[in-house]
Symmetry: C2
């Protein structure tokens, strides 16, 4: 039908359809037990109070809730978020906060306001696939720094920065997922957080702290956020309601120095004018009624049970003796399984599907897809029974494959 | 607090806070009668049926409506939109449609997939300020083509394209608002639509048809959309629920050739993953119940009355004899007042505010803000009484200023 040559931008030519979203289509067959998604458990959704809240918002604030709103977000929701942040030792004013279309928009706006083509950004290896797409869409050069069970390795970060400095280059920012990392399931230790802040301060490099799962801790003690540890305006942090309330409202927030938040708001104005008022009113009411904390507690109790079962089943069936390892997250939705280096989990994916079980290939989470011997497993969405049956299935398949 | 030099991207440095949004703050004082906003009338919001629909969605589809969704949008809403488009002679399949965060996101995605820095795009003079910000955010070079009471002048367009050709340049697309133009209030005539399609076909240049007000016609006969007239896959059209249903859901849709819609979906994936499921379920139900058409009819009847009153008051009080002119729109939310060339409506704005009445300065709608002798008036939001009092106030102020 098109009677001419399409002349797309360099930006879009650099982008690909998300591998994960494509994989998810394969895994949606009802007889496949899927650990591939990243969905929160629908059992955690507070449907009953939301019915009451929807009616209340439409009756009390209908004409406002259905109207356009301010680009920076609904003031009453911002007030609630400032209070919520204060409970986590983060003292900000509303001028430090922008409400976004969940944290993916936060990532996009960070990319938009900081990244020119070929600008350098540091990411973890592996890192969140949505951050890779957001930053790649500005044609940034992403340099990855290895992580281990305590998060990003600071020795490696220092070396990377030193190497860049020798070439006269400096990164625009360091992007980290410090709490219950997606996909790796690990948490940045307090000691490393201190080092990271110190490195950033010394080198005057910003930190982008992406923390969607921070409130979803089911083991261990809380570790201060990077934002709360910073005294130099070095940190922008991204949060979302997707994992602690509902993803279907697409609501998140970014916090940071006023100068940066201002730029994010200007960029957002050109992107979508404003975040939906209706769901912001609903979320504000949900928070004002004190419903968020009990909802998170309920969610955490579900995920703890599922995570423990998944670890138990892995322990029981996965061929540890053959060098298969996995992370033991203290929170979040994911864990990360690593096979000996010579195995290719992209190729094994088809075998998993043949065995009616699915994961996400680890390569999707690496810059350039360079490592292939890992995969991500989600434990929030599958049922207890699916975890019981599915992990066994997967482990037996892997046991057969690995010599 | 920030202890380092912020190093923002070239893109964000090219962007400014929306003049209009800043003006709106001034005009929000309760004693000012404002024609400055672009808000639909809250009387048009279908609050009562939405209460029922919210409950129904949460009860029947709660776990799905609160979950993540597909980037391209909710299939059941897409089905309804395909049907709605068919009633306007547009025959598409779901593969030709992407649901967006209202039409501003449509504009942003068009910019993202087509515009490299310094790429040329043709726009109308004046044009929608949100399109200027979206395209400017990709640092495109915008070239404007004059419009008159029949929309963009095709003789001027041909000349602009010929001039560009001589320099070996070609635009990426021609951006037009054919129906009840914002800000100008004019409609592209059938004859010019035919010419535009012919020019685009001959020169193989895409057309971006932005039509948020198309269903809000209160006078005259429907003119076919550019999309319905095109046989060569030249047109991408952007629509929104903001002016025909509610802005507070931030829902819109883009239609176009599959190859282009595919790229928009890839770009959207990196931008916000997906549009909120909850409000999409609500909108799908609203359409399925056949409530959109009666809602639009009700809206149109309100706007017709307000528009007629505004025209009547302008006729009665505005100093026509001194060369003040205004457009007489057949639909939409805006009309456009032009003073003799030597008058500066940016400067007059403060006098208007002193007289407790507000408009939007026309310069905001021009590439580079180059013309200053016009302003935009909105008639959808103010009450009948405000129109009666406010237009008189404004006209008397102008009568005093103009010699």
């Amino acid at each position: 039908m098109i009677q001419y040559d399409l002349d797309f931008s360099k930006n879009i030519k650099a982008m690909k359809r998300s591998v994960i979203r494509e994989l998810l289509k394969v895994t949606q067959s009802p007889d496949i037990i899927s650990f591939a998604g990243g969905l929160p458990s629908p059992e955690s959704f507070p449907i009953v109070p939301l019915k009451e809240i929807a009616i209340e918002v439409l009756e009390k604030n209908g004409t406002k809730a259905l109207q356009y709103g301010a680009t920076e977000g609904l003031p009453s929701l911002a007030d609630e978020l400032v209070k919520l942040m204060a409970t986590d030792n983060v003292k900000i004013g509303k001028e430090n906060l922008a409400i976004t279309i969940a944290s993916q928009q936060g990532l996009d706006l960070v990319g938009k306001i900081f990244l020119n083509p070929n600008d350098i950004a540091i990411v973890e290896s592996p890192t969140y696939v949505g951050a890779l797409s957001a930053f790649n869409s500005y044609r940034a050069k992403l340099i990855d720094v290895e992580l281990d069970d305590d998060g990003m390795r600071m020795d490696k970060l220092k070396k990377t920065l030193a190497d860049l400095k020798k070439k006269g280059k400096r990164p625009k920012f360091i992007y980290v997922i410090p709490d219950f990392h997606n996909p790796a399931g690990v948490t940045l230790s307090l000691e490393r957080r201190k080092q990271l802040i110190e490195i950033a301060r010394k080198e005057k490099i910003m930190i982008i702290e992406d923390s969607p799962y921070r409130m979803v801790r089911f083991r261990g003690k809380n570790i201060p956020s990077l934002y709360s540890m910073d005294r130099d305006g070095l940190v922008v942090s991204l949060f979302t309601f997707s994992k602690i309330f509902v993803p279907g409202f697409r609501l998140g927030w970014a916090i940071g120095p006023k100068e940066i938040i201002d730029k994010m708001i200007i960029a957002k104005q050109a992107t979508d004018l404003c975040t939906p008022e209706f769901t912001q009113y609903m979320a504000a009411s949900f928070l004002k009624k004190g419903l968020l904390i009990p909802t998170v507690k309920h969610t955490v109790s579900i995920y703890k049970e599922k995570n423990e079962l998944m670890l138990e089943m892995l322990e029981k069936y996965m061929p540890k003796a053959k060098g298969v390892k996995w992370t033991k997250p203290d929170g979040g939705l994911f864990l990360w399984v690593t096979l000996p280096e010579k195995y290719d989990c992209d190729k094994l994916f088809q075998k998993a599907i043949d065995n009616k079980v699915a994961y996400v290939v680890g390569s999707a989470f690496y810059v350039g897809g360079k490592k292939k011997n890992s995969f991500r497993m989600n434990f929030s969405y599958p049922s207890m029974e699916q975890i019981r049956v599915g992990v066994k299935r997967l482990a037996e398949m892997i046991d057969e494959e690995i010599k």
